[in-house]
Symmetry: C2
Subunit: 150 residues, 2 copies
DNA sequence: AGTGAAAAAATATAAGT
DNA sequence: ACTTATATTTTTTCACT
């Protein structure tokens, strides 16, 4: 991982459809060399995958909410984690420091879905207490490590 | 945006390097049709861009922190938002409901950088109060809207 | 909207420095 | 490691249904 790799990563995260030739021009390498570096970055796991950045609003997921969770004392924590992995609305679920045990980030179509989300947590007997925070607007979003963020 | 588009989006978000032919096989369309649908999804902004999912750990950004911010009473809020946009460590910055005004998500190489991050907020006279929560581990991460999350 | 065929472009491979 | 040249695959375009 040297400076060239960083540059390549920066260009790819900005637009992964750039051709190897185009990237090569920017960083001063031939297409084959760029190709080989991307292959290695992918192999070593620095690049996890090529993907698309989607607009949540266009996919009926305009509402962003953060839900703090305190698990029940008798909750099966590994079952909870698996539940989070499988849950279609949960984008992030972090075990955190502080007075809450987990911070969950969800995107839903409407605020009413937050309520059913929490009800479901209760029904599964995971939930002790919770507190929900709604995002009114986002100055920065995307969640990616981006070009100017490396 | 019909079911075929959703399927295509799902496949792309899983692996945006799949060929049009491959996607076509899965959804039952010709490569040209898939191409046309992806073109339209991109044009309408449903697909914002093609990008790469990077491993923060491999890029010296292993530490994930959430910083709750209450702005100073006299803070210039639009200046703060611009500061957030320009800041290299800030992955997300949301204006939120509740007793805090903003929730910021940052990824840093080491926990010590969180301190300098907050000092800088203070130096810019944005910060009233703040509270930092560190992620100890993540059951779900990535931040993308993913295949099974549409 | 979708298809199939042809053209254009991009990627992957291999031989040489 | 990188480059150039070649082979292969993919993407794009277009005439037609």
């Amino acid at each position: 991982m040297n400076s060239l790799d960083h540059q390549i990563i920066g260009l790819l995260s900005e637009d992964a459809k750039r051709s190897l030739a185009d990237i090569g021009q920017h960083v001063g390498l031939s297409p084959s060399s760029v190709n080989e570096r991307i292959r290695r970055l992918t192999e070593t796991g620095t690049i996890r995958r090529f993907t698309v950045d989607l607009d949540p609003g266009k996919l009926d997921r305009s509402t962003l909410a953060f839900v703090w969770i305190a698990l029940r004392d008798d909750a099966d924590e590994s079952a909870f984690r698996q539940y989070a992995v499988d849950h279609p609305l949960i984008l992030e679920c972090h075990h955190v420091t502080g007075s809450w045990s987990y911070l969950i980030k969800i995107r839903v179509g409407a605020i009413t879905e937050v309520e059913s989300f929490i009800s479901d947590l209760k029904a599964h007997r995971f939930l002790g207490r919770s507190e929900t925070v709604i995002a009114l607007s986002s100055a920065v979003d995307g969640g990616f490590l981006r070009k100017n963020r490396l």
